[in-house]
């Protein structure tokens, strides 16, 4: 899990959720890309973040895209974030004895526009949080930042500031993450994605 590096964090706000990731791809100490984003849009109102071993990040992003597309065709509706969380969990547990080296984060709004976030470990144990979830090589630093900065019912613009500060300062204390960040705010009307310029080291 510490081969490529990476960080993902998601937070709940007032009728909105935010998900953010860094953009570094490295091979241990050597940085080889600064455009490797780890968040992927799954439905118009749900995102999934996949930090961990880069090959598994790519493969699982494709696997989930496949499963969610099939779901949409069969059930003739978009998948709800809670259902997606269980789908992620069962997909990971299928490989219990040879796991995918990722620890996914799910963030989205359900059909009543209620915020939903959760994270799972690499074998599918779901953590349903009401405030924030963190994942990746920077998880310990992110826990510290989120615990101090997060407060309930933040408006989208304030949530953006909070999650950005939490991510930027956490990755500055992790040599395997950083090199830029991407923050996505999901509200009932629109999704805003912003790229942050951070310390390029």
């Amino acid at each position: 899990m510490e081969y490529n590096g990476g960080a993902v964090v998601a937070m709940v706000g007032k009728n909105c959720v935010a998900i953010a990731c860094d953009k570094r791809l490295g091979v241990q100490a050597m940085t080889i890309s600064t455009e490797f984003k780890k968040t992927f849009q799954v439905t118009p109102k749900t995102y999934i973040g996949l930090p961990g071993l880069a090959t598994d990040v790519q493969t699982l992003a494709e696997k989930f895209r496949f499963k969610v597309n099939m779901y949409k065709l069969k059930e003739e509706r978009e998948i709800e974030p809670r259902t997606l969380a269980h789908l992620v969990s069962s997909t990971l547990y299928e490989r219990r004895w040879g796991p995918w080296f990722v620890e996914p984060v799910v963030a989205g709004l359900d059909k009543e526009n209620r915020p939903f976030i959760c994270s799972t470990d690499l074998i599918g144990c779901i953590n349903f949080a009401k405030d924030f979830v963190v994942s990746g090589t920077t998880s310990n630093q992110l826990y510290g930042m989120c615990e101090s900065l997060w407060e309930p019912d933040l408006e989208p613009e304030d949530l953006f500031e909070t999650i950005s500060q939490a991510l930027m300062n956490a990755v500055d204390r992790d040599c395997l993450s950083g090199w830029g960040a991407e923050v996505t705010i999901i509200t009932p009307d629109k999704i805003i994605t912003r790229t942050l310029k951070s310390r390029q080291d």
Partner: protein
């Protein structure tokens, strides 16, 4: 022995029909009548419990089956074939739940059962199922009633009948059904429709009724609670029978 029957027994006739499926439908039409009616707030399915002799303990005979908490079904045709499909349906519902931690929507389960039934019309050494199913389920898009035939085709119905007396029963239903019917009326109508073709005395032990009714509720954390399918107890059936002169 197995290698001699590895070809498919359902082969096309020159007119483009699969005669095995036609014969399977004959088996269905020889079975006792079953009714299904969709109301605005739920669905009722009903069937006769025809025992071969008075010595049979009909309290242990189950024709209306619960597949998962929000879906139930009933049949007309061959009982043993039905039992196999009930088991496959229950397993399919639980397999869905293992992946998504949710009950399957009715349409999804119906598609699964229908593809199982279709497989048996295109595989070697097997014959089609000799049953038609009425599947009643309540999911987030509301109550839905489906009929599945031995060929694997399925249709959604507002009200229908299958089995021996289906023609008369459907004519009866066409007259009495309206889109705004509520469940209580629907149960009443279902019993009357069964009575039309009933041989002998209709008691609470000679018919089986399953209902699903309620609303889709949401818990605080966003999880959805669906109405539950249940069978009416003999005493409840007795009350309904008493209301019919």
């Amino acid at each position: 022995m197995a290698d001699r029957y590895s070809f498919s027994l359902t082969t096309f006739s020159p007119s483009g029909k699969l005669v095995q499926i036609e014969y399977a439908l004959n088996a269905v039409n020889a079975g006792v009548t079953s009714i299904g009616i969709k109301a605005t707030n739920g669905i009722v399915v009903a069937t006769e419990k025809k025992a071969v002799s008075t010595l049979v303990d009909d309290s242990s005979l189950e024709k209306v089956a619960i597949i998962c908490s929000n879906i139930g079904m009933v049949y007309s045709g061959m009982g043993p074939d039905y039992r196999v499909l009930v088991n496959k349906a229950r397993k399919a519902a639980q397999a869905y739940k293992r992946i998504y931690m949710e009950e399957p929507p009715t349409a999804i389960l119906v598609k699964e059962i229908a593809s199982v039934m279709q497989e048996f019309t295109q595989s070697g050494g097997v014959r089609p199922f000799g049953v038609s199913l009425l599947i009643a389920g309540f999911d987030e898009s509301g109550p839905m009633l489906y009929q599945v035939d031995p060929s694997g085709s399925y249709w959604p119905w507002k009200a229908t009948a299958i089995g021996k007396n289906m023609v008369n029963a459907k004519t009866f239903l066409e007259k009495r059904y309206n889109e705004d019917i509520e469940l209580e009326d629907a149960i009443h109508t279902a019993i009357l429709t069964l009575k039309e073709g009933f041989e002998g005395q209709m008691t609470e032990n000679s018919i089986e009724i399953g209902v699903i009714t309620g609303i889709v509720a949401t818990k605080d954390d966003g999880a959805v609670i669906l109405p539950e399918f249940r069978k009416l107890t003999p005493s409840e059936v007795k009350d309904y029978l008493a209301n019919i002169v």
